[in-house]
C-alpha cells in the first residue's frame, strides 16, 4: 500500500456530526442507518423468541401468563417479519451495493431513499408504542373477526405501524427498479449485471406490487375496529375468509421478498467463493423473476382448511407446486457452480454452503404444504413453524450474515477476525438445527401453533428445541461483537480482499461518496475470473 499522506477521503469521513448522518442523501450512509435500526428490531424480536422458547420448555404455562405469551409471539412475528426480514437485505446490502454494482453515483431518487428510512423509523415507533402500551395479541396475521371484534389490545397502533413501514418498502422497491433500469454504467447490459442486482430487482417488483394490498387490508382492519363497518364481521354479513384472501395475497409474496435477496447474496458468495462464473447465469437470473411472478399466484395454500372451496384449493395447490421449480433450479445451479471451482472456506462462503443445505430442506418441506391432503394435517402445527423458520432463519438470516461478512471490508474498510467468525458460523448452524428440526417431528405429532401449554408427551422435543434456541441466541451475539470490534482494531482491508470480480471491488474500501473517480465502462461479463488486472486499483 502506498504510504498515505493524508487519510483517504471516503464516504465515512466525508462529513461528521449528527446532521451529516440524519440528513445524508448518500445511499451508503442511509444503508448504515438502516443497518442500525434493523439490528435493533432483530434483537427485540430475538429477545421475545428466547422468552417463547423458555416458556415452552415446560408443558404447563408457568413462565408467563397466556395473555402475555400471546403478545410475545405476536410481537416476535411483527418485529421479525415487518421490521427485520423484509427490510434487512434490500435496505442494508441493497442500498449500499446496487449503485456501486451498476456503476452509478447514487440511487435514482436519493431524497426518496432518506424519506423511506424516516418512514421506517415512524412505523417502528408506532409498533414500539404498541408494545410498550400493552402489546397486541392477534398474531402477526391479524385474522378477523378476532382482530376486529374480539381483541381488546393495541391492534390499531400496530396496524398503523405496519401500514407505515409498508410504504418504506414500496419506496425502496420503486427506487431500485428505476435505478436498475435507468442508471447502469455504459457497457453494463442486463446480462452483465451481478445476480444480486437481478434478485434485488425481482424483490422490488414484489414489494411494489404486493405491499399496497396489505396496506389497504391493514387499513380495513383498523377502520373496522374504529368505525364498525362490518366488512369482516359475520353478524353483519361480512366474510372473515375475504380478509384471509386479501392478507395472503401480499403475505405469501412477502416470504419471497424475504428469501430472494438472500438468494442474490448466495449467488455472489458462491461465485466469489469458487472464483468461477455461476453455473447457468441466465437460468438463475430468470428464476428470480419466475419466483416473483409465480409467487403472486399461490396464496391460497395458506387457506386449505380455512373454508376455501375444494376447487379453488386444487388450483392453488397445482400453482404452489409450480413455484417450487425455480427455487430448485437455483439450488442445483449453485451446487453445480462448485464443481471444478477453487472453493474457499472463508466465513461468508461457509454461510453460503449452510444456506444452500438448509434452504433445500426448507423448500422441500414446502411441498408437504402444497399437497392438500398432508397440509390438512400439518397446517397450524409446529411443522409449519419449522418450515418457515428453515426458510427465514436458515435461509434469509444465513444469507444476511454471509453478505454482511463478505461486504464488511467494503463497508467499513476493515477485516473482521476470521477465526472468531468461523466459530460463530458453526455455533449458529448447530444451534439452528437443534432448535427447528425437532419442531418438524412435534409438528407432525399434532402440536398446534401458538400454544402456551401443551400435552406432556411433547415435552422432550420442546426441551431439545429450547436448548437449541439458547445456542442460537449466543451464536447471534458473536457477529455483532467482533464486527464492531473490527471497526477499531480490524486490519485495514484492500479494495479487493477476496479477489472477486465486480464493480464494487474495483473502487476503494470504503468507497468515496461518489463511488468511482470516473464512471466505469464495463467491457467484461458478469463473473469473468481471473479478475481483469486493471481493476486492481491499489
Amino acid at each position: 500500500m502506498a504510504t498515505l499522506l493524508s487519510p483517504p477521503r471516503h464516504y465515512l469521513n466525508d462529513g461528521y456530526g449528527i446532521k451529516s448522518w440524519l440528513l445524508t442523501r448518500d445511499h451508503k450512509r442511509i444503508a448504515l442507518l438502516y443497518l442500525a435500526s434493523v439490528t435493533v428490531f432483530f434483537f427485540i424480536g430475538g429477545a421475545m423468541a428466547v422468552l417463547i422458547r423458555l416458556e415452552l420448555a415446560t408443558p404447563v404455562g408457568d413462565l408467563v401468563s397466556d395473555e402475555t405469551y400471546n403478545k410475545l409471539f405476536t410481537m416476535h412475528g411483527v418485529a421479525m417479519i415487518f421490521f427485520f426480514l423484509i427490510p434487512a437485505i434490500p435496505s442494508v446490502l441493497g442500498n449500499f451495493l446496487i449503485p456501486i454494482m451498476i456503476g452509478a453515483k447514487d440511487l435514482a431518487f436519493p431524497r426518496l431513499n432518506l424519506l423511506s428510512w424516516y418512514i421506517y423509523v415512524v412505523g417502528g415507533l408506532f409498533s414500539l408504542y404498541a408494545m410498550i402500551a400493552g402489546g397486541v395479541d392477534t398474531g402477526w396475521t391479524f385474522y378477523t373477526p378476532f382482530s376486529t371484534v374480539s381483541s381488546t389490545t393495541q391492534v390499531v397502533p400496530t396496524a398503523l405501524g405496519i401500514f407505515v413501514v409498508g410504504f418504506s418498502g414500496i419506496l425502496t422497491g420503486l427506487n431500485f427498479i428505476v435505478t436498475i433500469h435507468r442508471m447502469r454504467a455504459p457497457g453494463m447490459t442486463w446480462f452483465r449485471l451481478p445476480l444480486f442486482v437481478w434478485s434485488s430487482y425481482a424483490t422490488s417488483l414484489i414489494n411494489v406490487l404486493g405491499t399496497p394490498v396489505v396496506a389497504i387490508t391493514i387499513l380495513l382492519v383498523a377502520a373496522e375496529r374504529v368505525l364498525h363497518f362490518g366488512f369482516f364481521d359475520p353478524s353483519v354479513g361480512g366474510d372473515p375468509v375475504l380478509f384471509q384472501h386479501l392478507f395472503w395475497f401480499y403475505s405469501h409474496p412477502a416470504v419471497y421478498i424475504m428469501i430472494l435477496p438472500a438468494m442474490g447474496v448466495i449467488s455472489e458468495l458462491v461465485a466469489a467463493g469458487c472464483r468461477k462464473p455461476v453455473f447457468g447465469y441466465t437460468f438463475v437470473a430468470f428464476a428470480s423473476l419466475a419466483i416473483a411472478v409465480l409467487g403472486f399466484l399461490v396464496w391460497g395454500h395458506h387457506m386449505f382448511v380455512a373454508g376455501e372451496s375444494v376447487y379453488s384449493a386444487m388450483i392453488f395447490s397445482v400453482l404452489s407446486f409450480l413455484v417450487a421449480i425455480p427455487s430448485a433450479v437455483k439450488v442445483f445451479n449453485w451446487t453445480a457452480t462448485m464443481y471444478k471451482g477453487s472453493v474457499s472456506w472463508e466465513t461468508p462462503m461457509l454461510y453460503a454452503y449452510g444456506f444452500i443445505g438448509l434452504f433445500t430442506i426448507g423448500g422441500l418441506t414446502g411441498l408437504f404444504l402444497a399437497a392438500i391432503a398432508v397440509d390438512v394435517h400439518v397446517t397450524d402445527t409446529y411443522f409449519i413453524v419449522a418450515h418457515f423458520h428453515y426458510i427465514m432463519v436458515g435461509g434469509t438470516i444465513m444469507g444476511y450474515l454471509g453478505g454482511l461478512h463478505y461486504w464488511w471490508p467494503k463497508i467499513s474498510g476493515r477485516l473482521y477476525h476470521e477465526g472468531l467468525a468461523k466459530i460463530a458460523a458453526w455455533i449458529i448452524f448447530i444451534g439452528f438445527n437443534l432448535t427447528f428440526f425437532p419442531q418438524f417431528v412435534v409438528g407432525y405429532l399434532g402440536m398446534p401453533r401458538r400454544y402456551h401449554a401443551y400435552p406432556p408427551e411433547f415435552q422432550v422435543l420442546n426441551v431439545l428445541s429450547s436448548a437449541g434456541a439458547s445456542i442460537l441466541g449466543v451464536g447471534y451475539l458473536l457477529p455483532m461483537a467482533y464486527l464492531i470490534w473490527s471497526l477499531r482494531y480490524g486490519r485495514i482491508a484492500g479494495s479487493n480482499p477476496w479477489g472477486a470480480v465486480g464493480l464494487e471491488w474495483t473502487t476503494t474500501s470504503p468507497p468515496p461518496t461518489e463511488n468511482f473517480a470516473q464512471t466505469p465502462v464495463v467491457t467484461w461479463d458478469a463473473y469473468e475470473y481471473p479478475a481483469p488486472v486493471e481493476t486492481h486499483v491499489a
Binding site: 420503486l174 428505476v178 399496497p212 380495513l220 362490518g230 354479513g237 366474510d239 386479501l246
Partner: protein, 222 residues
Amino acid sequence: MLPDAVEHHHPALAHQFDSLEQQKEAATLGMWIFLVTEVLFFGGLFLTYTTYRHLYPDAFAAASHELIVWAGTINTAVLITSSLTMALAVHAAQTGNRRLLVLFLIVTMILGTVFLGIKAFEYYSEWEERHVPGLNYAFDPRYYRHAQIFFSLYFLMTGLHALHMIIGLGIMAVMLRWSIRGTITPEYFTPIEISGLYWHFVDIVWIFLFPLLYLIGRHAHV
C-alpha cells in the same frame, strides 16, 4: 435540446444523473411505478366490492338506488373536463406558453374543487337520509345489514378517492407556483407531466367508481 455544456450544470439536473433526458425518463418511470402501487391499493377495495356484490346482489342494488345519480354524473363530467385541462396544461408547458399553462392549471384546480364540493353535498344529503354506517345508519329492514356493507364501501372508496383528489390539488398548487416562478421551461417540464399522470390516474379511479357505485340499482324494481 440544450448544448452539452449548458446541460451539464442545468439548475434542475440532479448530481446522480448524466443528462436531463435520463432524469426525465427516471422520474416518469418512477411515477408510473407509483401509479401501479395505487392501482393495487384501490384494487383491494375493488376486490371487496366485487366479492360482496357477488354475495349480496339485491342488497347492493337497493342501496345503490339511494345514491344521487345526477350528482355522480356531473362529477364524472367535471373530472373528465379537468383531465382535458390537465392535458392541455402539459401541452402548454411543452410548447413554453407559460400564460396558457398557468390558466389551465387554475382551471384544473377549480374543477377539482367543484368535484369536492359536489361530493360534500352528496355526503351531507346521505347523512340526512341516515345512510352513514357507524353514525346514524338506518335502512329498509330487509337489507339492513348487507346494505350497511355497501354504504361502508361507498364511503371508504369515495372518501379515499376524495383524499387523493385533495393531495392532487396540493400538487397542482405547487406546480402553479413553479410555473409562475418560471422553473417550468420547455427543457424542464417533467414535474408538470408527472403531476398530470397522477391527476389522470385519480380521474380513472372515478371512471370505475361511478358506474360500480351509482348505476347498479337504477332500473331495479325494488
